[in-house]
């Protein structure tokens, strides 16, 4: 009987050579007279072990990684196809890998296990059970279930998803829309990408449930153009789902309707902001809109629109299938359920870590991350993307919880955790924050558009030791002006990383740009 061998095909596995590994495995196995069936699965999210090859055995799947081309002959010689654990890259049963076994995977329960495009695989692993439950429920009951789960938006603002849906449900209109925010612009984040590349039907199911809940028949996935593979996989998954009756004019024979289309962004970070995103979907420049009106009332083409992050929508099938309570039992305080954390930057074991809220940042970085990749001491960590604060060691014992972070002027955002070792120059990082804002500002308001340009100049002067103290004072003032006077969080939060660098790493602003720390 042919042995099933899994070689992932997500962006990270491919970036590390997974295609070449798959080809070589097929050739070497054939040369040895072994019959194997290659499955191109999604990634398990253990990026540090990619390419992670798995072999199916009568006692479950066994993992090997990270596999390089040169390792393949020896791996096969060691009995890899029978699940042998003698080779130094052998990791044993996949599900027992500590990094994976210690997670609470609710949203990411399926990634890496299945072939992302196989509807049979999806169904065999509890797929579409949430949709089936939703098709049996009245719209207000679906909304109630999502409210009861305590789910808050995973795109950054943490607004309760059920309440947003209620507003759209309660706003009468002939046409309503579900818009999935798949702009995932934050550095250090890739969880949306993993959902789309490794479990696309999950997002399709979540969006369809949202459509049923609020009475929307058209959905759009606004996907960043930096993710061409996700586009390809989503387009194919949508076509399969239409053929199988999970999308289109007659959902599962119920007579209900939901259409879905992927639209590409075009390399503008600000288009992750929901009103800028809607402008972009309408074919315009991505200028941020004034709020109110809320998108839930006047959204896409002026009609009621749910805008939710990929992870918010991807949490919904579990909630409908297993019940709100099963989701809400996880977490702490007002942060219910699980959070998809993404360990990135200078980290030994980077990847996706889905955990109930409440674990400390230190546990995440040390026990999962294993410290820095460079083995130098960890110095700063930026949580929540380019608008998130840099946290010094004194803040690493914070629990991962929206309110605990907010109390320290920090954010969890979309769950990106970017680690830096001691070689980081925090004045240079602060400069980058301002530069990024300058490049990405939509230009609608002065504090952001002009403030970020001035911010770069002021930091350059500080680093060049021109009037240092006066310019430091100016930088503090400028940050306050941006926080108070910006229309959206681009200008309003860019000061967070800058101020945190100033407050927690003041020495870095006292030395020459490329000089010693003295």
């Amino acid at each position: 009987m042919s042995i099933r061998v899994f070689v992932p095909r997500d962006t990270t596995a491919l970036a590390l050579g997974a295609d070449a590994i798959a080809n070589r495995l097929a050739r070497e196995a054939a040369a040895r007279g072994e019959s194997i069936t290659l499955v191109r699965n999604g990634s398990r999210g253990l990026a540090w072990l990619e390419p992670l090859v798995e072999v199916e055995t009568p006692t479950g799947r066994f993992a090997y990684g990270p596999v390089a081309l040169a390792d393949i002959p020896a791996l096969l010689d060691s009995g890899m196809l029978q699940g042998s654990v003698t080779h130094s890259l052998a990791l044993g049963p996949t599900e027992e890998i500590d990094y994976l076994a210690r997670q609470q995977r609710l949203t990411f329960a399926r990634i890496g296990i299945t072939d992302p495009l196989s509807i049979e695989d999806y169904r065999a692993h509890s797929g579409f059970r949430g949709l089936e439950a939703a098709l049996q429920s009245a719209p207000p009951d679906i909304v109630e279930e999502v409210k009861a789960s305590g789910l808050r938006g995973r795109g950054g603002a943490a607004f309760p998803t059920g309440i947003k849906w209620q507003t759209v449900l309660d706003t009468p209109a002939d046409q309503k829309y579900i818009v999935c925010n798949a702009d995932e612009g934050d550095s250090g984040t890739f969880a949306d990408r993993l959902v789309m590349e490794c479990d696309p039907y999950l997002l399709i199911e979540g969006m369809t449930i949202a459509g049923l809940a609020v009475g929307a028949t058209q959905g759009y996935i606004y996907l960043r153009s930096e993710y061409p593979l996700a586009k390809e996989i989503l387009d194919e998954a949508i076509a399969h789902a239409e053929q199988a009756g999970y999308l289109g004019e007659n959902l599962c024979g119920s007579g209900r309707v939901f259409h879905l289309e992927v639209r590409l962004g075009a390399g503008a970070y600000i288009c992750g902001e929901e009103t800028s995103l809607l402008e972009s979907l309408e074919g315009k420049r991505g200028l941020v809109r004034f709020k109110p009106p809320l998108p839930a009332i006047e959204g896409l083409f002026g009609l009621p629109t749910v805008v939710n992050n990929v992870l918010s929508l991807a949490a919904v099938p579990f909630i409908l299938a297993e019940g709100a309570e099963a989701y809400a039992t996880h977490g702490m305080g007002r942060s219910r359920g699980t959070l998809a954390l993404q360990l990135a930057g200078n980290v030994k074991r980077g990847g996706l870590v889905e955990l109930a809220f409440g674990t400390t940042l230190r546990t995440l970085m040390e026990e999962f991350g294993g410290g820095t990749l460079s083995d130098k001491p960890l110095r700063a960590v930026q949580v929540g993307g380019p608008l998130g604060a840099y946290l010094p060691e004194s803040q690493w014992d914070l629990p991962l919880d929206y309110e605990a972070f907010a109390a320290e002027s920090a954010v969890l955002g979309h769950g990106g955790v970017v680690m830096f070792d001691e070689s980081v120059d925090m004045a240079e990082q602060a400069r980058f924050s301002m530069e990024f804002c300058k490049v990405e500002s939509c230009g609608k308001c002065t504090p952001c558009r002009i403030g970020s340009t001035r911010g770069v100049e002021v930091i350059d002067r500080i680093r060049a030791d021109q009037n240092r103290e006066a310019n430091l004072a100016l930088l503090h003032d400028l940050c306050e002006t941006m926080v108070d006077g910006s229309l959206c969080a681009m200008g309003g939060m860019t000061p967070f990383p800058v101020q945190s660098a100033l407050n927690h790493f003041p020495d870095d602003f006292q030395r020459a740009a490329n000089g010693d720390r003295s």
Partner: protein, 164 residues
């Protein structure tokens, strides 16, 4: 470069006509044009404006707002280096300096042999295994300066037909 990249008013109009009836058609049209021709040909602007009942200034405004859209033809390969924080933490700044020096160009420029256009990008979603570089439609991870040089050799010795 294959010949379908040659543009004419007819081929531009055909791309526009295939998409003009979609709600919010402008970005899909611009993507289709850039995918086909490598950039947005100048002749496309009045044609799009006419088809979507916009002014040429409005179409220009949209093209210039988005970093992704190019108004000049790129080299045979587009190489994008991730400049964002997670890649900075593992040496992206050194990589970008190395790449510029090695190619002798800055961002948004093309080598004189028209082989490579260099661009900046802010995150490719490969943040656990940076520094990240996108070459045409593929992403590479853990790109050290040495790996970058090997990548260039690979691109410059490849036959042109391989370009997707």
């Amino acid at each position: 470069m294959n010949e379908s990249r040659e543009w004419s008013s007819q081929s531009i109009q055909a791309e526009i006509n295939a998409l003009r009836h979609k709600p919010g058609a402008l970005l899909p049209i611009l993507h289709a044009l850039q995918d086909r021709f490598g950039f947005i040909p100048p002749d496309a602007v009045p044609l799009i404006a006419e088809s979507l009942q916009l002014t040429s200034a409005e179409v220009h405004g949209v093209i210039s707002f988005y970093h992704h859209f190019r108004t000049a033809p790129p080299g045979r390969h587009v190489v994008q280096i991730c400049r964002a924080e997670a890649c900075q933490a593992v040496g992206a700044r050194q990589l970008e300096a190395h790449a510029k020096a090695r190619l002798g160009i800055d961002y948004h420029q093309t080598t004189s042999d028209r082989d490579i256009t260099l661009e900046a990008v802010y995150c490719l979603g490969n943040c656990a295994c940076g520094p990240s570089v996108r070459v045409d439609n593929g992403v590479r991870g853990r790109v050290t300066p040495e790996a970058f040089d090997a990548l260039l050799d690979e691109l410059q010795t490849r036959p042109l037909e391989v370009i997707a």
